[in-house]
Assembly symmetry: C2
Homo-oligomer: 303 residues x 2
């Protein structure tokens, strides 16, 4: 079970942090950027080189501290096909460092199309009986708007290849409420979604009582997290929004179970941009920020 | 206004068909596939070569019949970074043939991430003041689950670069109802979404009264199409599900306004797989199917 692997990776590092690898041009230290601009001009290719150097440095700096990384697909897509190659190699680099890899691509479509997305991110593209791996992450974020047709192909690959999904349920952005908190039969839509994720039924719960179908529940909404945890002790949470988006460790307490399990907490800018605030090197600043976040999360009193 | 360009392209061809370019390994005629397998083995790269030859043949066969194409991003992502290069070049080839290009990627995320998706598909990636085009389609499909934070960056690029979006509202798949027909204040969620798309307010309506923010409304749900058209005469519809998914021309009548405008109707398998049914060449079969669909759509009685 993929969720068990994630839980054991967290237990081993005593740290539920996910390092977010979400590069933007202005996130890269000038020293790195300049090298590639000299070589390739102000081009997408120069950014690709810089992004790869940047995320590799972050992985190397934090791989003994964090159990997992999350790559935001959009950042790499914004550099085109070569950016997707950086995304692919970033997943490989992270896995080579023993990290659990979440592809944050928020895909969702009709069944036959989801099958192609699932092949891309979790499974294999089948070609005349030959299964060909593509991006091959450990987990993928999935959008629920198209219902179970969309989810099923991903679940099949979860079973077949030992992967997991996190379905967007309650996101961390300011306008999340516009759709997710619409009231359906007396309760917010995001609770309906959480029920559907839970009822998707397979894969069955793993060693620690969690399903391979988790949900995204933003740190900016502690009350929603509390309610979702109470309703769904079997759902593992991917929690974005810690730090830059305003979520705090105390607000996160409710995401975890009594054993301190049940959630991973993403931090992208707080670690990847620490070099800007501290004046230290990219690696040193990231390492320090990752340790500080680990200690902050360790201070949570689980109930 | 991008929606005006689309409408004028439809008017010129007297045909509201969108040719869907959604390749799968078993869609490709053996003659094309074998050439690339001989050269590259049973690899993703062989599939990339075959996909490019296949979609180029479809574009060449139908470019004087249809006004627009829609590329399903998932099919190309399933071949990895090289597949995304085929996607990129497919967009360029279609534009070189004078076609309006819809990127069907159904993206949706928090604002800062949507900005990167929008740069990838509609706008430009900004690098030290240099705007770099990436996939550069004319229109993009967008998922509404994250609310207006998600939509806004796309709308900004629509204004800046003359593009449009189609927001998933009522999709054509069997499980669409599980989320989209949840009842919110006495009406289905998809109507709430359509209201939000309409209220997003900009860009303003173009020459024909349609906004640059359209919606996806599936052909498999004629009643929903009728209701959405009645509620929102200002929203342009992208209608999937004609043919293979069970939608018919008579069911589509309500999508159009009295002048026969207001919608484009996608067909992927009906045109791209016609060679299998007819025993004719890929190009001849596609051409015949595209002409038959055009005539079918021309038979609609607009009310």
């Amino acid at each position: 079970m993929s969720v068990d692997r994630l839980i054991e990776a967290i237990d081993e590092k005593q740290n539920p942090t996910v390092l977010g690898l979400d590069p933007q041009p202005d996130h890269i230290p000038p020293g790195i950027l300049d090298t590639f601009v000299e070589e390739r001009g102000k081009t997408l290719s120069a950014l690709c080189g810089a992004y790869e150097a940047y995320i590799t440095a972050l992985i190397e700096a934090a791989s003994d501290i964090v159990p997992a990384v999350k790559l935001q697909s959009a950042c790499y897509e914004a550099l085109g096909p070569e950016g997707m190659e950086v995304f692919r190699r970033g997943i490989q680099t992270a896995r080579a460092h023993g990290l659990y890899v979440i592809a944050d691509a928020k895909r969702g479509d009709i069944g036959s199309t989801s099958k192609a997305y699932s092949a891309a991110f979790l499974g294999r593209t089948e070609f005349a009986g030959v299964p060909l791996p593509v991006f091959d992450a450990d987990a993928l974020t999935v959008n629920p708007y198209l219902g179970s047709d969309n989810l099923n192909p991903f679940l099949q690959d979860c079973e077949k290849y030992g992967k997991m999904v996190f379905v967007l349920t309650k996101t961390s952005n300011p306008s999340a409420a516009e759709v997710q908190e619409q009231i359906v039969e007396g309760r917010p839509l995001y609770e309906v979604i959480a029920d559907q994720v839970s009822a998707s039924g397979r894969p069955l719960a793993g060693r620690y009582g969690y399903l391979n179908t988790g949900i995204v529940a933003g740190a900016t909404q502690p009350e929603a997290i509390r309610q979702l945890r109470a309703l769904h002790p079997e759902l593992f949470f991917l929690v974005p929004g810690y730090g830059a988006q305003g979520g705090s460790a105390s607000g996160l307490a409710a995401a975890f179970d009594r054993d301190g399990r049940g959630a991973v907490v993403n931090n992208s800018r707080g670690i990847g941009l620490a070099w800007k605030k501290t004046g230290k090197s990219l690696g040193d600043a990231a390492r320090e920020a990752a340790l500080a976040m680990r200690d902050d999360l360790r201070s949570i009193q689980y109930k």
